[in-house]
């Protein structure tokens, strides 16, 4: 049994375990900087391995993992997203506080995505989707002191678990209809026998499409997306909006574009309807949003619709268009979220649209980056977003899905309404002042005292919106800072007054 072709996800998984251990080291400097360096090294190592394996298909783990150009290209996309998110998280409260766990979960999710992209059978595909989902449930809720983060985590867990169960049930029926879990064998079976009227297979297609639509946050399974995207820590939102969507689309292409490709007449209309619904609902709902994270969440629903247009075409050309657009989309979305992350460090509630008023004039470089990202997301002609949409809609038109391409084009025009509104606020809005966010300070390494007090001083001081609402788990009570009480989140209680330093 060959293992070497499966090395990229294995390297990332091994890195995740080591990073977790680094977070437990008592040396404060290693504890603080180690996870970032080791995480980066892991990502670079896996990327190099992916490039080495670039080429024709090689199978590993008894056909469970397939290293081909498709999976290696997507590996690079996942790794690039993970690297960007790792760097963007360096000053996030959740990331600062528990860097080991944070980097570990991020790498675990990445390994799951790589398994999805390279899955050769249904078991590995399901396992990959679950590995990435379970890691993301925790990442969403990692800011446990923030009610919204917890709420987002719990919502994502329940909706995600329902989506996974529906997907799994579909996979079980796919196995039942063909008698194999190997994607290639399923494809061969469907090619030789006429299965078009097989009820098991129809049920399987419906369930698998619904389950994956949950993961790709395509309408009508998108309800969780705005809430979870808004509540989660912003770097994690960026990760979900990019890498998770890429993984879900990879699963779509692996199952529908490759294994079920002979049944294209059966599933084409279903995917096309999901795509159309996503484009309409995402774009219309985004028009009404005042919160940038929610706006980008609805925009990502619409983008899932554009991407599914290429899947619905069911051709090689459509799949290539999806891959191109995925890469362009990941870059644009990461850039857009990076602006939100930067603004959130500076002011309270930096994800509101008003918080960005006049920001383009104050920070021209960031303003230009945001402008390019927004215009590209909207599909403005010279930018990659336009080329991607052109390829996607072209592939759809070739397969007599002209109506879908028309919906996509109209949706893109509608989307200009909200993307341009963000730009108008950024460049022409009057700065509102805003409540400066109390900056986090990372305490310098010092001698460790007792177990709890050490972690108490290691804990960074997240901003406290003292004027409005004290954070629910920061008791201003000296008694609670003792050793006698179990720390609420395993990290010790904060000392009152702590290390909050004003801006």
């Amino acid at each position: 049994m060959k293992v070497v072709p499966a090395l990229p996800p294995l390297i990332v998984a091994a890195g995740a375990c080591l990073v977790l251990l680094l977070g437990l080291v008592s040396n404060r400097r290693i504890k603080r900087d180690g996870p970032l360096w080791l995480g980066s090294a892991t990502i670079i190592g896996a990327a190099v391995m992916s490039l080495v394996l670039w080429g024709d298909r090689q199978e590993a783990l008894g056909g469970g993992y397939r290293a081909d150009r498709f999976s290696m290209l997507l590996n690079l996309v996942f790794l690039a997203c993970a690297f960007a998110v790792l760097l963007l998280s360096t000053r996030e409260p959740a990331g600062v506080d528990r860097r080991g766990e944070y980097a570990c979960l991020l790498l675990t999710a990445t390994a799951g995505m790589m398994l999805v992209a390279g899955a050769g059978d249904l078991i590995v595909m399901f396992l990959g989707i679950e590995i990435l989902s379970v890691a993301l449930y925790v990442l969403c809720a990692l800011e446990v002191w923030r009610e919204r983060s917890l709420e987002a985590g719990l919502k994502y867990l329940i909706v995600g678990a329902v989506g996974s169960s529906i997907f799994l049930y579909g996979l079980a029926f796919l196995f039942g209809a063909t008698g194999s879990v190997q994607l290639s064998v399923i494809g061969e079976q469907l090619a030789v026998a006429s299965f078009t009227e097989e009820p098991l297979l129809l049920v399987a297609i419906a369930l698998v499409a619904s389950g994956l639509a949950f993961k790709a946050s395509a309408a009508p399974f998108h309800m969780w997306t705005p809430d979870v995207y808004q509540g989660a820590p912003t770097p994690i939102t960026a990760f979900m909006a990019t890498a998770t969507k890429v993984a879900a689309l990879a699963a779509f292409l692996r199952i529908f574009g490759s294994a079920l490709t002979d049944l294209v007449d059966t599933w084409q209309i279903a995917i096309a309807v999901i795509a159309a619904a996503s484009i309409v609902i995402g774009n219309v709902a985004a028009l009404a949003q005042r919160d940038l994270k929610r706006l980008l969440a609805y925009s990502s629903i619409a983008q899932a619709g554009y991407l599914l247009t290429g899947v619905a075409a069911g051709t090689i050309k459509g799949a290539e268009a999806v891959l191109y657009y995925l890469i362009a989309y990941a870059a644009m979305t990461l850039a857009a979220f990076a602006i939100v992350i930067i603004r959130e460090r500076e002011v309270e509630d930096g994800d509101r649209l008003e918080a960005l008023a006049g920001y383009g004039r104050a920070r021209p470089v960031l303003g230009v980056v945001a402008t390019v990202a927004m215009l590209s997301l909207a599909g403005f002609p010279p930018l990659s977003g336009f080329i991607g949409k052109f390829l996607l809609f072209g592939a759809a038109v070739e397969q007599d899905l002209t109506w879908l391409a028309v919906i996509g084009a109209v949706g893109s025009m509608v989307s200009l309404g909200y993307y341009l509104r963000v730009l108008r606020v950024m460049w022409f809005g009057e700065p509102e002042g805003g409540t400066p966010r109390k900056m986090l300070t990372i305490p310098a390494p010092g001698p460790a005292r007792s177990r709890w007090s050490a972690s108490a001083s290691a804990r960074p001081c997240w901003w406290t919106s003292a004027a409005t609402r004290p954070p629910p788990c920061s008791p201003p009570d000296p008694r609670s800072a003792g050793v006698g009480r179990a720390p609420p989140w395993g990290g010790g209680t904060r000392r009152p007054g702590g290390r909050s330093v004003g801006p």
Binding site: E151, A172, F175, S180, Q230
Partner: protein, 103 residues
């Protein structure tokens, strides 16, 4: 092909469990009960997998079912952890009460 219990019975049981789980997810409001309902859905897929595995006389489905069990356990652990965290924040243990995010 297969002796003993016919495939239809496995699928009937599995479909019933799946619908029961789906019904629970749609109607319940306590996150603990929601988790239980999701477990029911996952395990209904297990029943179907094992039934199909017997029908085709291959072990793939059984291996799949074992993997699903591990995944389900991991999901419950995370779910319970989150519910405990919510409880410690003194938020209501009712998903309708978790509504600070909407719009």
């Amino acid at each position: 092909m297969m002796e003993g219990v016919p495939l239809g019975y496995y699928l009937g049981l599995s479909g019933g469990l799946f619908l029961l789980g789906l019904f629970g997810v749609l109607t319940r409001r306590n996150p603990l009960l929601l988790l239980l309902a999701v477990e029911l859905m996952l395990n209904s897929a297990n029943v179907a997998l094992v039934g199909f595995s017997r029908y085709w006389n291959v072990v793939d489905g059984q291996i799949f079912a074992l993997v699903v069990m591990v995944v389900a356990a991991a999901e419950v652990v995370i779910g319970l952890g989150l519910i405990v965290a919510v409880f410690r924040q003194r938020l209501a243990l009712d998903v309708d009460g978790l509504s600070s995010l909407k719009g």
